[in-house]
Amino acid sequence: MTSDLDIFVGNTTLIDEEVYQLWLDGHSVAEAVARRLRGGVLERAGTSVAVLQSDTRDHYRTFQMLERLLHAPPRLLQQLLFQIPPSRQAMLVQRYYAFEESFARELLGKKLSKGTKKDLDEISARTGVSIKSCRRQFDNFKRVFKAVEELRGPLADNIQQLFLLPPPLARDYAAVVFFANSRFETGKRRLQFLTFGDFAACAQHMMLHWTQGALAPEAAEPDGDVPKSFLQDLKELKVLVADKDLLDLHKSLVCTALRGKISVYNEMEANFKPLSRALVNVGGKLTHARDVRDFFVDLVEKVIEPCRSDKWSPADLRLFLGHYTAAPRALPAFRHQALWERYMAVITACLLRMYHD
């Protein structure tokens, strides 16, 4: 006797977190049943495989019906079809939008287009995340991207409102959107040591200090872009390396301050000019989209790698950057103090975050 139809509907929708995770991970019903069997649910509940199958199918059906609503979480709160306690609704949304950092790392800076979607099986093979799960995560990125693309105000807040995500997750999504928007290059070999978390932190700093939203929440431009005027202004900072006197004065100020305080003083002193040039030029190049892509490559190539080869400790770098940023205050000829600090706040934070093995 085979069951053609087998359903269970509760007035309060039953949600099994374990099965939900299996579904999210992209397992088929059969795989999910096998995993649950291995998980030992049968021994605990003393029942048959058929029961487990039927239960799993029920849950999968429910999730499929819920999926449409999960695409717009506020609808999940308003819909009348499934009666779900708020704590469970939050869990559903949170888990649905949770993503594998390894997967997100691969995707950072890529265009969220159909073409990229076609390459997902490669990423899936590389990261070990199942293809179904990859597609869901990709679609989530894309959906969030589309939803906030045109919105004003802080990106993370917008995402949090539209998708009801917990703040940390919303911030991660904001980073993904920011990267997808700015198309930073992240895939180069020399950037491989950087994790998703590193990039996300950098993106957050950039959004916090550089974007329009950071200055005036109701600003006219979407948060995903760094304002053109700001980037234009960054060119003004070149004076710090272009003007020989300023450069020397800057160096001597920093050296005076750091003498005896860092272990790599000599290397620092020797490398001050190329370092300073690199630090300032990264900003100066940002007006060109092509150069924007190289932002992280430049930082790694021109700052992190030289420091690393000179065996700077992170503390050294921190001290150096602190004094390096503060010194121009004492340069009477330098008139872009506010701009400089706004710029360096991000560069400092990014470098410190990225300075690891």
Binding site: M1, T2, S3, D4, L5, D6, I7, F8, V9, G10, N11, T12, T13, L14, R44, A45, G46, T47, S48, A50, V51, L52, S54, D55, R57, D58, R61, T62, Q64, M65, P73, P74, R75, L77, Q78, Q79, L80, L81, F82, Q83, P85, P86, S87, R88, Q89, A90, V93, Q94, D157, Q160, Q161, L162, F163, L164, L165, P166, P167, L169, A170
Partner: protein, 1096 residues
């Protein structure tokens, strides 16, 4: 008395995209009532339209108000072609027609389309102004309240229980009219939904008229059913119990915050209203000045009519001839004949004796045939008529009997659809009476004269009445009717419990003061520990109960068990013993009833769900031949079902069944019987005997071994069950009982169902030959199967209990978490080798597996009890069996359940219950709002680092215009008449909804499972939305009366019809009640809760 119906269309949300080009919708709404239609303006290019219409006013008769549903259609405006329908909402405005129920219907309703399901939501406000405020309802049945609940609703008291009301209306089924060939499935489904809505409105109005004629003001235990007779039409019928109810005035004093929630709703801005401006009806709003189009459209032509509504005292049909009645007394020695041969012949005899009756029905009448078959189960008890039993009884009882008789005999049918009664109402219970009749359907030629259907039911009721009489009872309680239809054959069934009632509850006037006190005892108070405080309403109840002489005559804990019939002139052979409780009067050895366990009953241990399942093949046949073969099979099925029930009852060491419901379903090539009941051990009845099996060929050594092995297994099972259900009756010293008692529980000697308490037993039990044909005889495979199936019934996993009654005996510390669910399974029987045994086995497995999967699904609620487990079997096609189960899982405090659960399981339980706490938060936190609607808790302050991201995001989200700020209120649903740990403060009206869903893209919707899963979820959602709009937060006595599912996978099509009903209520958590000031005077009178002590 005319009234004015006012409707306002506020807004829509989440509408489907109707214009592919723009991905938007130009929606407008048609509001139709009777023949009048209004339209809103088109709200262009939005999926979340804000219509904010003016009040559309319909001036209509009250008759129309009762019959017609308000029909709201959402459409997409299309300039060039016909407007596309998005979907509809039908709103039953009946709850607005009586003063104590809801005063406004306001809220978000799912927009439903029969092809696409729910497509967005619409916010509607509906009000009714009834003219002529004084004497508001006297001229119509508008004021009559309806309750599905089969007990006196909480917060009411019964002044008088008048009795049985019934009505039926018939019509042609639109699905089978010629026009159906040319119209779309959608149009056809909508016509059907609308027609049924109209018919049920009409039916309710007519029942209401009858109630008013009886001078009642309410119908309790209202059960409305549809018979889809196919070609021959559509029958809507209803039964109920007319009562005069009084609202308990104390309620409001007791609960100042909650007495008028819906009135408050009127004044306060609707909290779900997305745009508060709409309430100020200032002309400033441009929308206000728009003209609406007024288009009286043609009404649906309907031809339904009702049967006669007269209440004449003479029976409409002559009593049906008293056919041979088969008394099935599995417990009686007469049926357990001395040899299997004899046994068989005995049955054959009864079978053949049916035939003459059958043909006598057939020959004179035209094409219609009718066979009725009845049986009464044995129950038993005190010497009501005999006078021999009680010294004190004599004259008083005679008087009582006369009174009752006179009270009841004025009624055509002394039936009560109630299953729970105030203490003292039930004097004695006789046993189950049931009648079935096989009919051939033919076209209803004249819908205005649906007399054939009426006559059929009258016939059956007459039969029930006479069976009750034979049991020495004047009344039938727990009465219900049902049908099973396959092609043109229809089985009509009725069953109930014969009983003797206390006349005082049925008479007008005289004892009213006292009656009120007595009747207002509401069932369930004592069993639900949380209901404390209720008793405070009836400070004098103790005094008044002493006025009722009846109390002395039959002690509360066991009186209902005492036999109502004459011991010397018993209607059937039975073993009687002196009551194990009072030792004064006689009781039967086993008691079967269709009612709930009376609250005063003394029960030992816990109860459990007991099911008998049975299939019988039959040849495919046409018309008369078919009806004949079905009627020939029925007696055998009934017998087997009862044998199974009896065996399973004994196997659990119990002696009484409550809530017995036997469903016989007819299919093309088989009949299925499914009986469900809750077994308990009544302290008043004797300890049941064991089950003995014996082989036919005693010389065969290995065989003997096999038999004894089997016997051992059975004995072990009984012992295990006794432990599981905590059945340890006190051992009684022989002298006290004064009649021979058996050596307590000495297994190996008894016949399968032999009562230990009678003299004969010792003679009969001497092993060989004395065996029941169905259980003892192990020499054919059939019997082997039966024994096996007995043993394959697995007890629920530890931590689970189940019953099909309202409350589980032995558990009274319920916690508030409940989960109502519906599960449906359709199974295809393998084509090959269809024999009765394989069928039985398949059917048995199907039911057992279904139960198992329920236990698995609900494992996180452990310890819990599945209550009101209601199985429905249908045979939609040749080899398909469909089983639908609706039940509610209720958690209880494990501390008191601990005895039942052994130490090893304890740990897992604790884990499970901690898991549970997550879910527990939900009801606790959400239902804490004493007001009508209970929105999910609004987030307080939103700070970035707050833990609850959802609520936070949600709050902020208010600023986003497309999503409005409404919240979804939680609505609980339960098939029970109460909510654990809560007090029902108001009944808002009956919910009775009928939906059709059809698809032509079955595969795309996830196959049959996906289709039905979504549909049932939609039905729940629509019920919840209606309840919430009435201002309620729960549905009690919820029942899915019909779930007809048809599929045609080849065409990728499926269709399903679902009919549900229940009572919308407002409840308040008990924990909040305690916080409210309690009137000191009521607290003082606590000691009167005497009735409750009995059960503990």
């Amino acid at each position: 008395m005319p009234g004015k119906l006012k409707v306002k269309i506020v807004a829509g949300r989440h509408l489907p995209v109707m214009d592919r080009a723009s991905d938007l919708t130009d929606a407008f709404v048609e509001v139709k009532f009777g023949n009048t239609t209004f339209k809103t303006d088109v709200y262009p290019k939005s999926l979340n339209p804000q219509w904010n219409s003016e009040w559309f006013k319909f001036e209509v008769d009250d008759e129309e108000l009762q019959d017609e549903p308000l029909q709201i259609t959402v459409l997409d405006h299309d300039t060039y072609s016909a407007n596309d329908a998005i979907g509809k909402v039908y709103i039953d405005i009946d709850p607005l027609l009586y003063s104590e129920a809801a005063t406004v219907i306001s809220g978000w309703f799912p927009i439903y389309d029969t092809i696409h399901g729910i497509r967005g939501e619409i916010n509607v406000v509906v009000k009714v102004d009834l003219f002529n405020d004084l004497n508001r309802f006297r001229q119509s049945s508008c004021g009559v309240k309806f309750f599905c609940t089969t007990s006196i609703p909480k917060c009411y008291r019964a002044v008088i229980i008048h009795g049985f009301v019934e009505e039926l209306v018939v019509n042609e089924d639109p699905e089978y009219q010629w026009i159906d060939r040319i119209r779309t499935p959608r149009a056809s489904n909508e016509a059907r939904q609308r027609l049924i809505s109209l018919m049920s409105g009409e039916l309710q109005r007519k029942i209401g008229l009858k109630v008013l004629e009886m001078r009642g003001n309410a119908v309790v235990g209202y059960l409305q059913c549809f018979d889809l007779e196919g070609e021959s039409g559509l029958v809507v019928r209803a039964i109920g119990t007319a009562c005069t109810l009084d609202k308990l005035s104390n309620t409001s004093a007791f609960l100042p915050a909650c007495n008028s929630p819906s009135k408050e709703m009127k004044e306060i801005p609707f909290n779900e209203d997305p745009n508060p401006n709409t309430h100020s009806s200032g002309p400033s709003t441009p929308l206000k000045n728009q003209t609406y189009s007024f288009s009286p459209s043609k009404s649906y032509s309907r031809q339904s009519s009702s049967s006669d509504t007269d209440l004449s005292l003479t029976p409409k049909t002559a009593p049906s001839p008293q056919g041979p009645r088969i008394f099935l007394f599995p417990s009686s020695p007469t049926l357990s004949c001395d040899s299997p041969h004899l046994k068989k012949s005995c049955l054959l005899l009864s079978g053949s004796s049916l035939n003459p009756l059958h043909s006598s029905h057939v020959s004179p009448v035209v094409l219609r045939k009718s066979v009725s078959f009845t049986e009464e189960l044995l129950l038993a008890a005190s010497g009501m008529g005999s006078g021999s039993a009680g010294k004190e009884g004599g004259p008083f009882k005679t008087l009582l009997r006369q009174q009752t008789q006179s009270a009841l005999e004025q009624r055509e049918f002394p039936f009560f659809t109630l299953t729970t009664f105030p203490p003292g109402f039930l004097v004695h219970v006789g046993g189950v009476v049931s009648a079935r009749s096989v009919k051939l359907l033919d076209r209803i030629h004249n819908p205005d004269e649906p007399e054939t259907r009426d006559a059929w039911w009258a016939e059956i009721r007459q039969e029930i009445k006479s069976h009750a009489k034979a049991l020495g009872c004047h009344a039938v309680v727990g009465y219900s009717e049902s049908t099973s239809i396959c092609e043109e054959v229809c089985i009509l069934s009725a069953s109930g419990t014969a009983a003797v009632l206390n006349p005082r509850f049925l008479q007008d006037g005289t004892m009213e003061g006292c009656l009120e006190q007595r009747l207002s005892w509401q069932p369930g108070f004592f069993s639900i520990g949380s209901e404390k405080g209720e008793v405070d309403f009836f400070p004098q109840s103790q005094d008044s109960s002493s006025l009722l002489g009846i109390e002395e005559a039959s002690p509360p804990g066991c009186g209902f068990c005492h036999i109502p019939y004459d011991e010397l002139n018993m209607p059937f052979p039975a073993h009687l013993t002196y009551c194990y409780n009072c030792r004064k009067q006689k009781v039967p050895d086993v008691l079967f009833t269709t009612i709930d366990l009376p609250v005063e009953a003394i029960v030992i241990g816990k109860g459990c769900l007991i099911q008998a399942r049975l299939c019988r093949l039959k040849k495919k046949a046409q018309a008369e031949a078919n009806a004949t073969s079905i009627s020939n099979l029925l007696p055998f099925m009934e017998y087997e079902v009862h044998t199974q029930l009896m065996n399973k009852l004994k196997l659990r060491g119990m002696n009484a069944l409550f809530g017995l419901r036997i469903q016989i379903t007819v299919g093309e090539n088989m009949l299925m019987g499914l009986a469900s009941a809750t077994g308990v051990y009544l302290a008043a009845l004797p300890t049941p005997g064991g089950i003995q099996i014996a082989g036919k060929t005693p010389n065969d050594g290995t065989y003997e071994q096999h038999i004894s092995h089997m016997q051992k297994k059975i004995n072990d099972t009984i012992a295990k069950n006794k432990e599981l259900y905590e059945i340890n009756p006190p051992e009684l010293p022989e002298e006290i009982i004064g009649s021979p008692i058996p050596e307590p529980r000495q297994r190996s000697r008894l016949l399968r169902s032999q009562s230990e308490s009678s003299d004969e037993v010792t003679e009969l039990d001497l092993s060989h030959g004395k065996k029941d044909a169905f259980v003892l005889e192990i020499d054919d495979t059939d019997a082997m199967e039966d024994v096996h199936s007995l043993l394959t019934d697995v007890p629920p996993p530890s931590g689970f209990y189940s019953c099909n009654t309202e409350i589980m005996p032995g558990i009274n510390n319920w916690t508030p978490e409940i989960q109502m669910f519906t599960a449906v399974r359709v199974s295809r029987l393998s084509n090959i080798n269809l024999t009765n045994q394989t069928l039985n086995k398949n059917f048995n497995d199907l039911c057992e597996n279904l139960l198992k999967s329920l236990y698995f699904k609900l494992r996180s609620m452990v310890p819990c009890c599945l209550c009101h487990v209601n199985f429905t079997v249908a045979l939609p096609e040749d080899e398909l069996v469909q089983i639908a189960v609706t039940a509610v899982a209720i958690t209880f405090d494990k501390n008191q359940a601990l005895q039942a659960n052994k130490a090893p399981t304890e740990k897992s339980q604790q884990r499970a219950s901690t898991d549970n706490e997550d879910q527990l938060q939900f009801p606790l936190e959400l239902c804490s709002d004493p007001l009508a609607s209970q929105p999910f808790p609004p987030a307080k302050a939103a700070s970035l680092d707050k833990a609850s991201p959802l609520a936070e995001g949600y709050l902020r989200h208010r600023s986003v215009p497309s999503c409005t700020n409404s919240t979804v209120s939680v609505v609980k649903m339960t098939p029970l008449s109460f909510l654990p740990g809560a007090k029902i403060t108001k009944y808002l009206g009956i919910i009775n909804m009928f939906f059709i869903r059809e698809t032509t893209s079955l595969r795309e919707e996830g196959g049959v499972s996906g289709f039905l899963h979504a549909f049932i979820a939609e039905v729940f959602a629509m019920v919840r939305a209606h309840v919430a709009a009435l201002g309620g937060n729960a549905v009690v006595s919820y029942i899915m009366k019909q779930c007809v599912f048809m599929e045609n996978p080849n065409k990728n099509q499926a269709q399903c019809l679902i009919n549900v009903s229940g009572d919308a209520v407002i409840f308040v958590r008990e924990s909040e009640l305690e916080m409210l000031p309690v009137q000191p005077s009521t607290v003082v009178s606590q000691p009167t809760s005497s009735g409750g002590d009995v059960t503990t």
